[in-house]
């Protein structure tokens, strides 16, 4: 099994190709900030102790002469210029200016709406069917012109983002109503979806970042005292937990329940039954979320992201393009 991987209190796991440069910039920046803060801080504390008011001590009228501060300021400026030119701009221009060639990339249209993500795939023919605003309905969320031949094998997937690993993904992002923001923390991807505009963005999922594998790597053992419904609500057990009579309290593949009350009750039962730790893994390890306030259920607007290898993805496309199916959740 590969090294474990977690969501925690620092950067989330990194699963895209371009993300490492972003993380690198963030790291360098924080070191720089730390050095500045500590440097200035030491001087600050030194002054506070050395120059506190006390009998016999008077302030000096003459300003200190010294060029240290000037050099420090110039240094800060110069380093910022380096960060800007050396580390930030290259990433941005790759992020914005170098789309993968049309022949090589895999295109998906993403249509945001209050409060769901609609993913429109071209299907096996590789051609997107046309769409029209007046055809949009609950069962046709992107307004596909279903009579058009190009549309016949198109796939529209609601809140489920399937994609192949190791290929250039080219997302054509738009929205039907208000502004949303397409964000995948593990991919270091974020882009607002603006009504009336179609904005392209692209990224590549690392070869080894298949959802299945990631889920395994995210398996974690929680001591009971750290287990809390809020924390574990998206996790499932990796084994059965039974009470003394052998009755299953928490089955493998099952979560703690849909509500806080149910979850806490179950946790109590487990604790009574002598369970000291829980081995859990996330049900859906990867998520697409919405980063722009878009209404009262903005926080719930998320899609499950499922990454496949090529064969797995082809199988998914095969299955889905048989009939146009809209899972209207």
């Amino acid at each position: 099994m590969q090294a474990p991987m977690h969501y925690g209190r620092w950067l989330p796991p990194l699963l895209s190709e371009h993300g490492s440069q972003i993380d690198h910039l963030i790291d360098v920046l924080h070191v720089f900030m730390g050095v500045l803060f500590v440097g200035w801080g030491i001087f600050f504390l030194y002054c506070l102790t050395k120059y506190r008011q006390r009998p016999g001590h008077t302030a000096r009228y003459e300003p200190v002469k010294g060029t240290v501060s000037k050099y420090a300021e110039i240094g800060v400026g110069a380093f910022e210029a380096f960060l800007l030119v050396g580390l930030s701009m290259p990433v941005w221009s790759a992020y914005k200016n170098d789309p993968p060639a049309p022949a090589e990339r895999f295109e998906v249209r993403v249509v945001a709406e209050q409060f769901q993500w609609n993913f429109h795939y071209p299907g096996k023919d590789g051609k997107f069917g046309p769409t029209r605003a007046d055809l949009i309905s609950a069962s046709n969320p992107v307004g596909l012109v279903e009579t058009d031949p190009a549309a016949s094998d198109d796939i529209v997937s609601v809140n489920e983002f399937h994609l192949p690993v190791g290929r250039d993904i080219y997302v054509r992002l738009t929205t039907k109503d208000v502004i949303h923001s397409f964000a995948i923390p593990t991919m270091r991807v974020k882009q607002d979806a603006i009504p009336g505009m179609e904005i392209p963005i692209w990224f590549k999922v690392k070869e080894d970042a298949k959802s299945e594998a990631i889920r395994e790597r995210m398996t974690q053992v929680f001591p009971m005292r750290k287990a809390n419904w809020y924390r574990l609500r998206h996790h499932i057990a990796t084994q059965d937990y039974k009470d003394k009579d052998g009755q299953v309290l928490l089955a493998r593949g099952q979560d703690l329940g849909a509500t806080y009350e149910a979850g806490q009750e179950l946790l109590e039962k487990l604790e009574k039954a002598g369970v000291t730790e829980l081995s859990m893994q996330p049900r859906n390890p990867l998520e697409v979320i919405c980063a722009q306030l878009c209404g009262n259920s903005h926080f719930k607007m998320k899609a499950q992201m499922v990454t496949h290898d090529d064969a797995g993805f082809a199988a998914w496309v095969e299955e889905k393009s048989k009939v146009i199916e809209f899972d209207d959740f």
Binding site: I26, A59, A133, S137, I194, N296
Partner: protein, 580 residues
């Protein structure tokens, strides 16, 4: 200038109560009115956030004690609703920025202190000054009244991004109306401030003898004067969209809740709103910080007993900061689909604007070198301001570079960043200012023990609130989330939210000594003379509290603002109005 002296005869003339305290034209009364009103709003903004923090720590649990009184739209069965959360969040931001901090820094401190510091009898336009306050107050009341509208208060964030805000409930219309009032009030105020600072300076008070506080206010006023009108224009356009059915911010082909909006003319641009909003809102953040820096500089100079280091650099940096703040606004919009050229321009200007801030902070810290530091209560707040502002400022850098902003935009890292500058930053400066000028306003000192308690616990808990947010943001937790645990990575760091919430409630408890101290000292504080801190600037030349017309004799200025510890003098301070 001789006319000037005649005011002395007017002192004894008694005005009726309502002219003296309610519709007063005296800048000092107006300053106090602003301060008290804004403190109440500050408290209210904090209260909203304390309720929201319950939902963030314990999502979906009924709010204890007050949940059942909030009404069904805001909290059904005592559980804060999604709309209620968004309304509280939007109103927290709006109230804090436009109704609490700016009115405190500019309306309160600026009004009270600036004319005194330049030796003027009042503002240039006293009646306009009164009008500013009486336009600000209804603006605030309209904002608060919007909670009682059907659908509740505005709930599209303090940024009110279209089209969400255009299709939102009536509260948004009230928000826009309220903003028009607040903007008008600020514009009148800024005209008044600039004219006062330029034309009413005492004899001998040249520009480079002005206390830094006055400079900060002057730059702030220019920001308000020139940056607010575009937001006023934007508010008018959004009002038209909401009331007259226009489509300035609504593009063609919108489909809301599955219904095509064919009645719209379309053709509008949602990004236009953002540009106009941030054209104001970025300068606005310097409106929040510059008066704070002004206050801090005064207190540091007074309590280090030496001149500020690099006075001229401070002044030039403040001016440059003000100037640059007009051309960085789009760093709030990197994720809207901006291309390389433009983003390069805006990240470059953003990096440039951080340099004058570094210079200002450096000057203030170096001012401590060779000093004789008095750890008075205002000084404690002023000193803690420095590292807090540093954290806030430094965390602005990762946000200002587009590449790192990809990950950090709209996360709690942003929330952490700006709260470090506005809460332990500006709020601490406000506290410092209150402790510092309280004796001038009331003739009495505030209690120092209570003050120290207030400082100590505030310092601990405010870091407890905002430090974890930076980590949450790193972990990718988004802002404006009703329930962070709804997402996997949010759930994993849910523990931090609990910690933040408890710190916030304890921070509230830490304010109790302050509130007690404040009211107790008004009546019972130790009486002091005109210049209890032995400071040099002109406000301390006036009696405490200063009478209508301010000075017994018109001051004339003979030296720079911070002549402390001048070698060969009997006292360690030389007031500006005393012949050297």
């Amino acid at each position: 200038m001789s006319k000037h002296d005649t005011h002395a005869d007017h002192h004894h003339e008694e005005l009726p109560f309502w002219r003296k305290y309610i519709f007063s034209v005296d800048h000092k009364v107006i300053g106090v009115q602003y301060t008290i009103t804004a403190l109440v709003f500050l408290m209210f903004g904090f209260a909203l956030m304390m309720i929201m923090r319950w939902q963030l720590a314990y999502p979906g649990q009924p709010i204890p004690f007050i949940g059942k009184y909030l009404g069904d739209t805001i909290a059904l069965d005592g559980i804060l609703s999604g709309d209620g959360y968004n309304a509280f969040g939007a109103m927290h931001g709006t109230i804090m920025v436009f109704l609490a901090i700016v009115p405190l820094g500019v309306g309160g401190f600026g009004n009270y202190v600036l004319p005194l510091q330049i030796g003027a009898p009042d503002m240039a336009f006293p009646r306009l000054n009164m009008a500013s306050y009486w336009i600000y107050l209804p603006g605030g009341i309209i904002m608060l009244a919007s909670f009682f509208m059907p659908g509740g208060a505005a709930n599209s964030g303090w940024t009110s991004y279209a089209p969400l805000s255009v299709i939102a409930t009536t509260g948004q219309t009230m928000w826009l109306l309220g903003m028009v009032f607040l903007i008008t009030s600020s514009l009148l105020g800024s005209v008044n401030f600039i004219v006062t600072a330029v034309q009413l300076r005492a004899k001998g008070l040249s520009f480079f003898r002005l206390p830094f506080f006055v400079w900060a206010q002057l730059v702030t006023s220019f920001l308000l004067l020139l940056a607010f009108p575009p937001l006023e224009a934007a508010a008018v356009l959004q009002l038209m969209d909401r009331v007259a059915g226009t489509s300035f911010f609504m593009p063609t082909g919108l489909v809301v809740s599955g219904v095509e909006q064919a009645h719209l003319s379309g053709g509008g641009s949602p990004l236009l709103w953002q540009h106009l909003f941030w054209f104001l809102a970025h300068p606005e953040v310097y409106v929040l910080i510059l008066p704070a820096l002004g206050i801090i500089s005064e207190i540091i100079a007074t309590n280090t007993r030496k001149p500020l280091w690099g006075y001229k650099s401070l002044v030039y940096s403040a001016i440059f900061l003000g100037f640059m703040s007009f051309i960085v606004w789009a760093h709030h919009m990197f994720m809207t689909g901006m291309g390389t050229t433009l983003s390069t321009f805006f990240q470059a200007t953003t990096m440039i604007i951080s340099v004058p801030s570094v210079i200002i902070l450096t000057c203030l810290i170096i001012s401590l070198y060779g000093a004789s530091i008095r750890f008075t209560v205002p000084m404690l707040f002023a000193l803690s301001f420095l590292p807090m502002f540093a954290i806030g400022g430094l965390t602005g850098l990762p946000l200002g570079l587009t590449a790192s902003d990809i990950h950090l935009h709209d996360t709690y890292y942003v929330i952490g960043h700006f709260h470090y500058v506005v809460a332990p930053g500006t709020i601490f400066a406000v506290f410092a200012g209150i402790y510092h000028w309280f004796p001038k306003v009331t003739g009495r000192m505030m209690n120092s023990t209570l003050g120290r308690l207030h400082w100590f616990f505030s310092f601990i808990f405010i870091n407890g609130v905002f430090m974890p947010m930076l980590f949450q943001g790193m972990a990718g937790i988004l802002r404006r989330q009703y329930d962070q645990s709804e997402q996997l990575h949010g759930a994993s760091a849910q523990g931090l939210s609990v910690m933040v919430s408890w710190s916030a409630w304890l921070l509230f408890v830490a304010q109790i000594p302050f509130i007690i101290n404040f009211f107790w000292s008004i009546w019972k504080g130790q009486k002091v003379g005109a210049n209890p801190w032995e400071a040099t600037t002109l406000e301390w030349a006036a009696p405490s509290p200063p009478p209508h017309g301010n000075f017994d004799t018109v001051p004339v200025v003979y030296c720079g603002p911070y002549e402390y510890s001048v070698p060969g003098k009997k006292t360690d301070f030389c007031p500006q109005h005393v012949v050297a």
